[in-house]
């Protein structure tokens, strides 16, 4: 840690020196005056400083990103090499252990039993249907075999860990022996637990955070890690330092009156700007890609019945939890989610668009500067309220009120968690979004247009309606579409206020659920990461992404089509 800090400081000093040296040399070459030089002396300074600092900085950044990984790879390879003899012993012990062999046979038996029972159940399903007693009996049978398989699997694991600890106990307590034991333990770990093992070693070796346990084996492994870390760190630091010195020297030598330092600096700046936008774009692309791949895995898991996902009307992912369940088709029909999302968005827009737009018109056209000065910030405070607070409000105040009101009007089935209460509250949340964007757009309409309307004898509301709003329309449409994508993506209010029941209904007084809410429910809590149920969240995410993308494209189109040019 101290070493990298020291290197960074040294680089900083070197960069500053580069600036001063480059500047001095430029001035000397121009006989002390800037007039004889192509660029101002400072630009020569920036140029030299750039070549001193930038490449070394890139190297350090690369080290920061990949250095730890490199150390891990090299050190773990060494650990595994030293564990090879132990590993071979363990394999042979597994082969000859009679208890283990017996359990293996039992496992094969359970698997065969399960397959046969499953085939029988399938036959019962086609002959007698899902609800028949024969079917129920067959399913009990299948479940029995599955339980049996799980039991055998657990016993196998226990036996294996017994044998492993025997082997490990037999190894010597020398540092090499301990390291070999750590290596074997690592090799036997399932993938998802390896990361923890590595971070424990790193914690013991470099004090990075807290180790979850502290054993002699882990300490021996840490001792293997340490030299790698030290060597690599020193190499990188020295390398960075020499790169900086070489860069300084080369750039310094190039400084001459005719040298176009200013253009070089300009080029570096534009490169930096390009890099920043590239990072933004690549990140987005990466997210979309991962979404796409996980979604593809989901579609593979439901046998590519994409149409069922997009057009199916029954959403109950819980059914498909067990691989052996029959009749899982139709469980992933996402239409109720789309309809629920649409319904809530519609209600929210019905609140937010008129209120937000009228508020914007009042603020920008009618309010006196005094009123505007406090009303606008107050409206924007609404946008700063956390959505969970809105959700609270919807659940505890608006929901019960709407339910009681509906009952008063004679609608007996009213519930607290309804699309209406979520939509209304979400609409309130979006009001400042619409009003603030529309306000900007309306203010951007040139004053000369208003003057033109007044000079024609229009009243204020005529001027607003006939001239200002048409001129601001593209921007307002853009604002509304942005608000729609905001509403479609909103989660917290809906989780709290709309319920989780995937009802396919257009009745705003019933509970519905949305795409975002389902993604949350599917991914929170303990989930295995390759069941169709979990993966379906990614498919839903993809749909959500495509929807908002379309909205944005349409918004851009509209804005371009009706754009008026004012300059």
């Amino acid at each position: 840690m101290q070493l990298s800090l020291f290197t960074a400081l040294a680089l900083l000093v070197l960069t500053a020196a580069g600036f001063l040296l480059g500047r001095r040399r430029a001035l000397a070459a121009g006989q002390g005056r800037a007039a004889g030089l192509h660029s101002l002396p400072d630009y020569y300074g920036y140029y030299v400083a750039m070549w001193t600092g930038a490449p070394a900085l890139v190297l350090l950044a690369l080290y920061g990103l990949f250095g730890g990984m490199l150390v891990n790879t090299l050190a773990l390879a060494e650990l595994e090499r030293s564990a090879e003899p132990l590993g071979a012993r363990y394999e042979s012990v597994l082969e000859i252990d009679p208890a283990h062999a017996g359990l293996r046979a039992e496992r094969d038996q359970a698997e065969a039993g399960r397959l046969a029972a499953r085939e029988y159940a399938d036959a019962m399903f086609t002959q007698h249907g899902a609800e028949s007693p024969q079917m129920a009996e067959a399913m009990t049978d299948v479940d029995g075999w599955i339980a049996e398989g799980e039991r055998v699997e657990a016993e196998l694991e226990t036996r294996e860990s017994q044998l492993l600890s025997q082997i490990l106990g037999a190894a010597p307590d020398s540092p090499q022996g301990l390291a070999a034991r750590a290596g074997l333990e690592y090799a036997q770990l399932p993938i998802e637990r390896r990361q923890l093992f590595i971070s424990d070693i790193r914690a013991l070796a470099f004090g990075e955070g807290m180790a979850s346990r502290d054993t002699a084996e882990l300490r021996a492994a840490a001792a293997v890690f340490q030299p790698y870390e030290t060597t690599i760190k020193w190499t990188v630091c020295l390398l960075a330092f020499s790169i900086a010195v070489i860069g300084l020297a080369r750039a310094w030598r190039r400084v001459a009156p005719g040298f176009r330092a200013r253009n070089r600096v300009e080029g570096a700046i534009s490169f930096l700007l390009m890099l920043s936008s590239a990072i933004a774009i690549l990140t987005t692309l990466g997210i979309v890609m991962s979404l796409l791949f996980e979604a593809i895995r989901f579609f593979a898991a439901i046998d590519w019945r994409v149409h069922e996902f997009l057009f199916g009307t029954q959403w109950s992912p819980q059914i498909a939890i067990r691989a052996d369940q029959i009749g899982q088709s139709g469980a992933f029909g996402a239409v109720p989610l789309f309809v629920g999302t649409g319904l809530i968005t519609l209600i929210a827009m019905a609140v937010a668009v008129p209120v937000g737009l009228f508020a914007a018109i009042y603020l920008s056209e009618y309010a006196s500067p005094g009123v505007r000065a406090w009303a606008k910030p107050v409206l924007e405070i609404l946008a700063g309220i956390p959505t969970v607070v809105y959700g609270f409000f919807a659940l505890l105040t608006v929901g019960p009120f709407l339910r009681d009101f509906a009952m008063l009007l004679g609608y007996e089935d009213a519930v607290t968690q309804s699309a209406l209460s979520a939509g209304l509250v979400m609409g309130v949340m979006i009001i400042p979004f619409v009003s603030s964007l529309s306000d900007d757009v309306i203010n951007a309409v040139p004053q000369t247009l208003r003057d033109g309307a007044y000079a024609m004898g229009a009243t204020k509301s005529e001027a607003v309606r006939q001239v200002v709003l048409p001129a601001a329309l593209p921007g307002i449409v853009g604002a509304v579409l942005l608000a729609v994508s905001r509403a479609v993506g909103e989660t917290m209010i809906v989780v709290m206020a709309a319920g989780q029941a995937a009802n396919l209904t257009a009745n705003p007084l019933e509970s519905v659920t949305t795409i975002t809410v389902q993604i949350v429910t599917l991914l929170t809590g303990d989930q295995e990461f390759n069941s169709a149920k979990t993966l379906s969240a990614f498919a839903l995410g993809l749909v959500l992404f495509v929807m908002t993308l379309m909205l944005n494209i349409v918004a851009l189109r509209v804005v371009q089509k009706y754009r008026e040019k004012y300059d």
Binding site: D451, Y454, M456, G457, A458, V467, P470
Partner: protein, 273 residues
């Protein structure tokens, strides 16, 4: 007095250099305007003739636009503006409580420095005034108002085949003539123009000047300009403003050939401004 003297509503007449007498259309007396604490016009008094072009000249910030905006009460739209004194059109007081500025502005058209067609079609731009003031009873009548206005503004030939394309898609000079057509569509009595050519090239300027000369036959025109040559070319009367005061007012020829005030002379010979 010349033989063709008409008696205007307030009984006064204005002579210009041709020795033609014109009835007074707009009369201002002791007009003060201030924006907040800052006084922009000090006691302006002048009579503006009908069926003639009156030019307002003077250095930037001297209050030409401010005075122009008093005539159709556009200063009402500025929160801080306070107007006092009397302005009459045909003897009727403009600043009277009883006068509805919306109706007044139908009688007093205005054209601005920057062309400001509405975000509507050419047709709807011209039909805007007649529609909000209910000047036509039928579609045909509206069509003919639009056509006549565009013809008077000298734009008909260029746009008759694309009346329903956006007005904002025209060139700057065409837009300015469209805005003039929009103003004359409500058949106003007075037309105010605030530097109508300053955003245009010489050819478009020449067209507008020609148009102003034609409109003179039927309207009372008041034009603010920074071009001495333009004032000399198109106007019959010229008023010179300086620092919020009306310094000199008279027939254009006299102002340009024989100004009585030193400041006027300095300004028109280009010594300041």
């Amino acid at each position: 007095m010349a033989d063709d003297t008409n008696t205007s509503a307030n009984g006064r007449t204005v002579y210009h250099a041709n020795r033609h007498a014109h009835p007074v259309k707009v009369a201002a007396a002791g007009v003060d305007v201030s924006y907040g604490d800052k006084q922009a016009l000090h006691g302006v008094t002048l009579d503006i003739p009908d069926r003639a072009v009156t030019a307002f000249i003077g250095p930037s910030g001297c209050g030409k636009s401010t005075f122009l905006r008093c005539i159709n009460r556009m200063n009402d739209t500025i929160e801080t503006a306070r107007v006092s004194g009397s302005i009459t059109i045909d003897g009727e007081e403009v600043n009277d409580r009883g006068v509805d500025p919306v109706i007044l502005r139908a009688r007093v058209g205005m054209v601005f420095q920057k062309p400001n067609p509405f975000p509507k079609s050419i047709y709807d731009n011209v039909a805007y005034g007649p529609r909000i003031h209910g000047l036509s009873n039928s579609r045909d009548e509206l069509d003919s108002i639009v056509e006549n206005s565009l013809k008077k503004a000298g734009l008909w030939a260029e746009v008759s085949d694309r009346l329903h394309t956006p007005g904002t898609a025209l060139s700057g000079g065409q837009q300015q003539r469209l805005v003039i057509a929009r103003a004359i569509a409500v058949n106003p009595e007075v037309i105010l123009m605030d530097e109508p050519c300053s955003a245009l090239d010489p050819i478009a300027t020449a067209k507008i000047e020609e148009l102003i000369d034609e409109l003179r036959e039927n309207y009372c025109l008041i034009i603010v300009t920074h071009s001495m040559a333009q004032a000399a070319r198109v106007s019959q009367m010229t008023a010179f403003f300086h620092l919020g005061h009306l310094v000199e007012y008279g027939p254009t020829e006299e102002i340009f050939t024989n100004p009585t005030d030193r400041r006027t002379q300095d300004y028109i010979t280009g010594r300041f401004g």
